[in-house]
């Protein structure tokens, strides 16, 4: 299972870093979209190895971070029900809602379970016909196909005790919102490799053309990121604005057609609120009417409402790349991973959390 060490080779990394240094002649702002990339950059200290001309802006691609607080509250409301087995990916459990989080609900004796796939939740539903099984379907285009598949399977098997609480988001509309902003500083994009395994990169070709911005589909290992930055810099320095694919070992231009078929069968595009950013048009998936019996919000009769978040938290500005985590006055003091005030501190892939984890003490 050799697939990691090759992409963490320090000699090859050094050569790429030297090449980047040789090519850079002016200041460039490059946004890595995915939280996984942000995490790698800080974990391996890639930002410290780059020439000072390159400023990395950390994008909004952390699904845990951008899930609206109202959705977390709804999850908690559903999970606080004796008849419910609430299933979720692990990292959603610690995300604070308005008053509590799912880990504490679990501690009170409610049945909250970590699953590794939504299909596990479908199997739990089969084994527990007397219980309501709810899966917390969050994430980007990467997790949408398996979450759609779970509903499709439940439908085919005639399960009436399985629903999903859906909070899916799509990357391109958020990128467009950032690029459209009058404050936009982003000049180059590292697109999220895993999202593109499903979606391909045709839709990024439109972005590159319309905004005259280079886009490099990039992986997550140190060498991937360095190569992505290098490819992006070559385009920027030569005034080229096209989509290139650094992550070709996993991504094809057309993406995964089969995965999208199942996704489109069950989900449709909707407007979606992003925690820290606000509502973005056409930026999410919701369950189609045909499958609405699998929609937990309908089944549990949960109404929409809006919650005001901490005014001290600057995660909106951070998610748009306008400031760095350390520029926020509450970073590292009032706001820590143990006491997060907002989106970007809650998940290990959030920019604030990654800065706190890997850099905080050095910055004192």
């Amino acid at each position: 299972m050799k697939f990691l060490d090759e992409y963490r080779d320090s000699e090859k990394a050094k050569k790429l870093i030297e090449a980047i240094h040789r090519r850079v002649s002016k200041n460039w702002n490059i946004m890595e979209i995915c939280g996984g990339q942000t995490h790698s950059i800080l974990k391996y200290g890639i930002d410290e190895l780059l020439p000072k001309e390159i400023n990395l802006i950390h994008g909004p691609g952390c699904p845990v971070c951008v899930t609206p607080i109202e959705k977390i509250d709804k999850a908690i409301e559903i999970a606080s029900n004796q008849n419910v087995i609430f299933c979720s990916y692990g990292d959603m459990l610690r995300v604070p809602g308005s008053h509590t989080d799912l880990l504490k609900i679990k501690a009170q004796g409610f049945d909250v379970r970590i699953v590794y796939s939504p299909v596990d939740a479908v199997n739990i539903a089969k084994k527990n016909p007397e219980k309501e099984i709810v899966f917390f379907a969050v994430g980007f285009e990467t997790t949408a196909p398996p979450n759609a598949l779970a509903i499709f399977m439940a439908h085919q098997q005639g399960l009436i005790n399985f629903t999903e609480l859906v909070s899916h988001v799509c990357v391109p509309p958020a990128i467009k919102a950032i690029l459209d902003s009058i404050n936009n500083r982003v000049q180059g994009l590292l697109a999220a490799g895993h999202v593109c395994t499903v979606m391909g990169f045709k839709e990024y070709e439109d972005i590159a053309k319309r905004y005259k911005i280079p886009v490099v589909v990039t992986g997550f290992e140190p060498l991937d990121i360095l190569q992505g930055i290098y490819m992006c810099i070559l385009q920027l320095e030569n005034d080229i604005n096209i989509v290139e694919n650094q992550y070709s070992r996993a991504v094809k231009r057309e993406g995964n057609v089969k995965a999208r078929e199942i996704m489109n069968e069950v989900f449709e595009i909707c407007d979606r609120k992003w925690r820290g950013i606000g509502e973005i048009k056409d930026s999410g998936f919701k369950i189609k009417v045909k499958y609405e019996e699998y929609d937990a919000e309908i089944k549990f009769g949960l109404e929409d409402y809006s919650i005001e978040e901490s005014k001290e938290c600057k995660s909106g500005l951070i998610l748009q790349g306008l400031i760095k985590p350390v520029d926020c006055s509450v970073f590292g003091n009032k706001c820590t991973p143990e006491h997060p005030l907002g989106a970007t501190m809650v998940s290990s892939e959030g920019a604030c959390s990654a800065y706190y984890l890997y850099k905080e003490k050095k910055l004192q």
């Binding site: 190895l49 692990g90 504490k104 970590i114 590794y116 895993h194 143990e338 850099k359």
Partner: protein
């Protein structure tokens, strides 16, 4: 009772009182939240020179003999796992805690809490495993207790063991002896136990051949001690993994420890599964690995001894103690820090986990 409540209410303990009205799994995860529970509640009421050392066990003097005393509870699920079971774990865990004090383990107690409905045949397997582990490590169970709780009030079997060992007069192993220039050795590759447990839990369909590293450490520690090496500190890696062990010592000894990632060995399969789940091997549990702090002049000799062990192939020197660190952070003194030199040569903080590691979305 009212009085106790008043005292608790008055304690300035924001984390516990405000954030956690009940215990969560994070309070037992070996990270910061557990550390806070121990510091801000348990040590608040039960402070004394021995417990405040926060070592794996306490060393005390009685009638001219130096004895080490420790206790540990075992609540693992599944109770039988690749490479071991709860019975041998309960013996080795306590033997290892005594060994980390530089003690020769002698006697253990065995407390069993059994759940109504637990299969007798499984209990027998576990007791035989306890017997074998005792024979292997040369300890005796000399007292015990058995309780049964109603179905649903326990999880098959919980075990508590306490242990006593004897410490030679010239041995002084403690975090407070860690000093600038000390070399940090790691006794083998990391993360096997945690991943073996994860992959055998019923809801994870991985096919994996990883076996737990569950093993006794008393022999190897005795060899190190008999070689004449002046060991400053030992710590076995358990919950929270290497990251927690290093941070606990850095914090107690008030030092900066610099670790080189390239010298920390993780087998391919563990690395791969960690990557899939979003875990850092540095925070994954171990049950048969330890770190040792020795003077630079003794490091090569200590490494040679570690490597001669059956499972010592991956033993390595992973870092050094850089300095006494007493930074000021937010008006508070920073008590210790672990710096990890990454494979790319950059430095980053290796912090203690907050609670438990949770598998990530994608």
């Amino acid at each position: 009772m009212e009085e106790v409540k008043n005292i608790i209410d008055k304690l300035s303990c924001p984390l516990l009182v405000n954030d956690y009205e009940t215990i969560t799994m994070s309070h037992g995860g070996g990270g910061k939240i557990m550390g806070n529970l121990i510091d801000k509640m348990i040590l608040q009421f039960l402070s004394n020179d021995f417990i405040n050392e926060k070592h794996d066990g306490a060393v005390f003097l009685t009638d001219g003999h130096r004895l080490a005393f420790t206790t540990d509870s075992y609540v693992i699920n599944p109770i039988f796992f690749p490479g071991g079971d709860i019975g041998e774990l309960a013996v080795y865990g306590t033997v290892n805690d005594l060994s980390m004090c530089g003690a020769k383990p002698l006697y253990l107690s065995l407390g069993l809490i059994l759940e109504e409905g637990f299969v007798i045949k499984d209990l027998e397997k576990i007791i035989i495993s306890v017997k074998n582990a005792c024979e292997r490590t040369g300890v005796k169970i000399i007292t015990g207790d058995t309780k049964v709780v109603e179905k649903g009030k326990g999880d098959k079997i919980f075990i508590n063991t306490a242990g006593i060992g004897i410490v030679k007069d010239d041995i002084n192993i403690s975090p407070s002896r860690v000093e600038e220039g000390d070399v940090v050795l790691l006794s083998g590759d990391i993360g096997r136990h945690g991943i073996a447990i994860m992959t055998t839990r019923e809801n994870l369909d991985f096919e994996s051949k990883i076996k737990s590293d569950c093993a006794p450490l008393n022999d190897i520690v005795q060899k190190l001690l008999e070689s004449g090496i002046d060991i400053h500190c030992l710590r076995d890696l358990t919950r929270g993994g290497l990251g927690s062990a290093l941070n606990e010592i850095a914090s107690k000894a008030k030092v900066e420890i610099e670790i080189n990632e390239i010298h920390i060995n993780v087998i391919e399969e563990v690395k791969g599964i960690c990557e899939i789940l979003g875990f850092d091997p540095l925070n994954v549990a171990n049950e048969g690995r330890f770190i040792a702090f020795v003077k630079k002049k003794d490091a090569a000799k200590a490494l040679k001894i570690l490597k001669e062990e059956e499972d010592g192939k991956y033993a390595s020197i992973i870092g050094v103690v850089k300095k006494k660190s007493l930074k000021i952070e937010n008006g508070k003194k920073e008590n210790g820090i672990v710096i990890l030199k990454s494979i790319l040569g950059t430095n980053r903080i290796l912090d203690m986990l907050s609670g438990e590691q949770l598998p990530r979305i994608c």
